[in-house]
């Protein structure tokens, strides 16, 4: 790593000034010699050219490296002089030049020996160059940092007045503040879950660069963790899908041959009973496999949503039409209280139907026979809440387990139909579409609610 240390820079400045003084003095000497008709013009010209070339070469190198710390580090580092507003600095420089001219004019009046005059010329040349270097190198640093104009009193005042007039938030002026703000915004985006924001370290300097790099690391770490999680869920879903394919083939034969056995007109009463059990269980297994694939697909988010504006009221009527005979078969009466007008929500109609269908199925299966099932859609300021209430036919266990967890059912023995996945599917589908899903149990009263934002 090639360092541009202060020692090197200082040395370059000293060499530059030596060459410059040499040049100035030889120019003065040349003029003096011509006036005095003295010789030695050739040697003086050589010294003059050497001083000229030397001072320009060192100045060019200084221009190149000023503001930088090493060859590898592209950052621009400002020093205290650069904090001075550009236009103020310019005014100071003009005053300095005026001072130099004033000194030079007075010099003419003095009557020194040639050697004394040479020292005076060299000194003035040296001081002028020092003042010039301070000004020039500072301007170069500002230009490299793109703050030549921004960091001026006129600019700041102009923006201050403009912002006051428009009343808008003032953009930070200094580079540090700007970079801090950029880092803050990036962190806010990452916190909000946008893992595609990445800070370009090239655009940051010093401490802010370290911060930016650290923020990128955090982003990468979080993004990896989230991606891994998604990947694992997908793999799990794929595994379940593949296993279920393998299960379905033998299951097809079981279902088919049980059906064939049923048609065989067996005389044996016991055998018929066994076949009936086989039939029920194989159908149950079939339902379970299908639900399992669905549940894993939905919980891994591996499902395409077609979000549209749909009428929740229409959807509930449609669902009611699908179910009324299943409810009638168990002596259940649906009491529906819905708004007269449409209630529009943003959702995938087919998936919302599946969520609502699962709740209806749940009621059809587990509600106490010959009771009423209450279905309603309530409108609030921002939301529409669909609720279904029923009296459970069995006592729901105390310390109710979370019914929306997979495979949890409100009964200890798993004798009845159902896979225990229905409520889990309904909940995951609802949350996937941006809705809320809630289940409450109050004694034997079972309440499920789906909430969506109204449009």
């Amino acid at each position: 790593m090639k360092e541009y240390s202060n020692g090197r820079k200082g040395a370059a400045i000293v060499i530059h000034q030596m060459f410059l003084v040499l040049m100035v003095c030889s120019i003065y000497g040349t003029g003096y010699n011509i006036r005095m008709h003295a010789g030695g013009l050739g040697e003086l010209s050589l010294l003059m050219v050497t001083g000229l070339v030397g001072s320009f070469v060192t100045l060019a190198w200084l221009t190149n490296i000023c503001g930088r710390r090493s060859e590898e580090d592209p950052g621009i580092y400002l020093n205290f002089i650069d904090r001075l507003y550009t236009d103020l600095h310019l005014v100071l420089m003009i005053m300095f030049i005026y001072l130099v001219f004033y000194l030079c004019r007075n010099l003419r009046g003095l009557h020194f020996e040639f050697s004394g005059l040479l020292v005076a010329v060299g000194t003035i040349g040296y001081l002028t160059d020092a003042g010039f270097l301070i000004f020039y190198l500072s301007m170069v640093r500002r230009a490299k940092n793109n703050t030549l104009l921004q960091h001026s009193l006129v600019w700041v005042l102009f923006h201050f007045i403009r912002d006051r007039l428009s009343g808008s938030f003032r953009e930070p002026v200094t580079r540090k503040a700007r970079e801090r703000l950029a880092i803050q915004r990036a962190i806010e985006e990452i916190a909000a879950g946008a893992f595609d924001t990445r800070l370009d370290a090239e655009n940051f300097h010093g401490q802010e660069r370290e911060l930016a790099v650290a923020v990128n690391h955090i982003r990468d770490g979080m993004s990896d963790a989230v991606m891994n999680h998604i990947k694992n869920e997908r793999m799990k879903a794929d595994l379940i899908t593949n296993v279920s394919h393998d299960i379905k083939t033998p299951l097809t034969s079981i279902v088919n041959y049980v059906d064939l056995l049923k048609r065989e007109n067996l005389d044996n009463e016991k055998a018929r009973g066994y076949i009936r059990i086989l039939d029920e269980k194989s159908q149950r297994l079939k339902q379970l496999t299908e639900d399992l694939v669905e549940a894993s697909k939905i919980s891994s988010g591996n499902i395409k949503l077609d979000i549209q504006e749909i009428d929740f009221v229409e959807l509930i009527y449609q669902t009611g039409g699908e179910f009324n005979e299943r409810f009638e078969a168990r002596g259940l009466t649906i009491v529906t209280r819905l708004p007269h007008d449409s209630v529009m929500v943003r959702a995938d109609g087919r998936q919302l139907y599946r969520a609502v269908e699962n709740l209806y199925t749940n009621a059809a299966k587990y509600a106490l026979e010959n009771t009423r099932v209450y279905v309603s859609l309530e409108e609030h300021d921002q939301t529409a809440v669909f609720t279904i209430k029923n009296i459970s036919s069995r006592q729901l266990p105390a310390g109710m387990p979370d019914l929306t967890e997979r495979f949890v059912r409100g009964e200890e023995s798993r004798t009845t139909e159902g896979s225990g996945l229905g409520l889990s599917i309904a909940k995951n589908l609802t949350t996937l579409m941006g809705g809320e899903f809630e289940i409450k149990v109050d004694g034997d009263l079972f309440i499920a609610a789906i909430t969506f934002h109204k449009i």
């Binding site: 088919n256 039409g321 819905l338």
Partner: protein, 229 residues
């Protein structure tokens, strides 16, 4: 009529054979795609039932090859239940897609339906008051509804609802629109009536009312007759 059944699981093929023979069809049994193509070349076949995941030549590729030379009805029978799999199967030229485990009676119904369509579609009567959507035909002059050539009995209200949807294929009607059109009264606080009628119609015209081919439910919007079946 001869039906070619192709699946690498021998027991499934045997079971399908039993069901089809009970309905009077003769069955050719093969166990991979290559054998299926061989049989199609040498014997007259009226319909093919084919599995997707098979050794040597899978059902999708076999279907593609069959379609290059033949237009017989093809029913795909697969354990893959994804929408994408169904769309792929129908896109390569299959006429129907059933998932495993299947209901044998539904398979037989679909076989019959495909065969009826294949043999009777060309003789469909064209008249002014005839509305068609695939195998579903409504003749408003005779007040007759047929699905794949077989007559379906609807109640007057069911008939009028279906006629409204058939006259405007592809258009989605909401429950209140249907109510106002059919009952000629304003729908004040509609109820399940229309939805129940729709389900009854579906049970009569669809082989599997849960996966309708003709009368589709657009959830949260209304009902429509599918175009392009």
């Amino acid at each position: 009529m001869t039906i070619l059944v192709c699946d690498d699981d021998k027991e499934i093929v045997d079971a399908i054979e039993i069901y089809l023979q009970q309905e009077g069809y003769s069955v050719e049994k093969v166990y991979d795609g290559e054998q299926a193509l061989e049989v199609l070349k040498t014997k007259p076949v009226d319909l093919m039932i084919i599995d997707v995941m098979m050794p040597k030549l899978d059902g999708i590729r076999a279907t593609l090859q069959v379609r290059q030379s033949s237009s017989i009805p093809i029913i795909i029978l697969s354990a893959k239940t994804e929408d994408a799999d169904k769309i792929l199967g129908l896109n390569v030229g299959a006429d129907d897609y059933m998932t495993k485990p299947f209901n044998p009676l539904e398979l037989v119904a679909r076989v019959k339906s495909q065969l009826r369509r294949y043999t009777t579609l060309s003789s469909a009567v064209q008249g002014e008051a005839v509305y068609e959507a695939g195998g579903l035909v409504m003749n408003d002059d005779l007040k007759k509804v047929t699905v794949d050539g077989e007559e379906v009995r609807l109640t007057p209200i069911e008939y009028n609802i279906l006629l409204l949807l058939m006259k405007n294929k592809g258009k989605v009607y909401s429950i209140s629109q249907i109510y106002e059109e059919i009952w000629n009264e304003e729908a004040i606080g509609a109820d399940n009536t229309v939805a129940v009628h729709i389900r009854h119609i579906r049970e009569k015209i669809e082989i599997n009312p849960r996966e309708p081919r003709y009368l589709k439910v657009v959830w949260g919007v209304g009902y429509k007759i599918e175009t392009g079946v």
